[in-house]
Symmetry: C2
Subunit: 185 residues, 2 copies
Amino acid sequence: MDKRTKLMHTAKRLFSENGFYGTATARIAKEAGVSNGILFHYFPTKDDLIKAMYFDIKDRIFQYSLGQVYKGATLKESIYTLWLAAVEWNLENPEDFDFMLQFENSPYYSVEIEKSHKYVQMSVELAEKGIEQQVFKHLTPLLLFQMMSSLVDTTVKFLRINPELQSDNEYKSRLFEIAWDAIKK
Amino acid sequence: MDKRTKLMHTAKRLFSENGFYGTATARIAKEAGVSNGILFHYFPTKDDLIKAMYFDIKDRIFQYSLGQVYKGATLKESIYTLWLAAVEWNLENPEDFDFMLQFENSPYYSVEIEKSHKYVQMSVELAEKGIEQQVFKHLTPLLLFQMMSSLVDTTVKFLRINPELQSDNEYKSRLFEIAWDAIKK
DNA sequence: TTACAAACCGACTGATTAGTCAATCTTCTT
DNA sequence: AAGAAGATTGACTAATCAGTCGGTTTGTAA
């Protein structure tokens, strides 16, 4: 693993444990086993590091989730696949999940950043399709996507403190019904 | 306004603009027009200040929302009243809203803190009633409450970037349907 | 072999930070 | 009026911070 990646891994862990505020750049470098200088070689400022991490994580989770969707699937099947993939990915990557939540609810974040993501655009297109087909509620596609995302987050938080339910597929599909009912017509 | 309150007001604004990380205690005191020392007289540490603000804001929003609910109201009416009150309160107090989001998604936060709130307990009791009456989905009451809360947050975020919809009551009741459908059986 | 760039190091710094403290002022009780 | 208790001040500090820099190593391509 190259030093840039090592830095991002360590930073992710420290940020999710102690927050942006509680994590010194020197500590990131030290625990990553690299020099202080190299951190600023790859990321000119601490903010640059934080933003780079955001785009990196966001990319990976979307790539994973969207990759699971079959081409011939119905709309509900596709949405369920996406929902489940996102939930499971976040459960398996708790540090990424914590980092994302912190970032998206910090002053770093804006809707422009969100919309700039090509994968968000793809998800919005899926929402558009659902609205056209009269399956989803007739509301702004971006809003439906955001509602879905926040329900995924809440589901993940819940399953985290109830780990015994994580492997219960029947229960998970009942949790999915919450999200589905929220957006369906 | 006493100095303690003045400090909390200023801190709220600065935290919501620049985050916990980006706000120095000295600056809070200065912009509040009080001495540096008095901040630490009322709040022994910066974290104490942050936590005190959280409980203060949370108290006020719940007191406001729960106070709106009529005794004779049906369950759906009660939930709508709560939903609407929360949405409007957050829209009118954007700094409180930003502060809360930041806090609840930071390492400061835990489920224990949430559950310790007497008002959260009251809301959970309402959810229990809905489940008993077979109106809500048969799931943990706390989960239904959290789902509701996160949909309120997403609604507020959406109305914030679409201010022209904020006074459209018909539209708002359509937004409520998202939250209602999510939890109803 | 040379030569050049990118990767890498870690000691260093100037600015900033949370928190302290000794002294003064205000308010209230007796 | 005395005097105790809390409120208030702002200069101060020790620690910590993000970011710099002069120099070294490593990879690579001609």
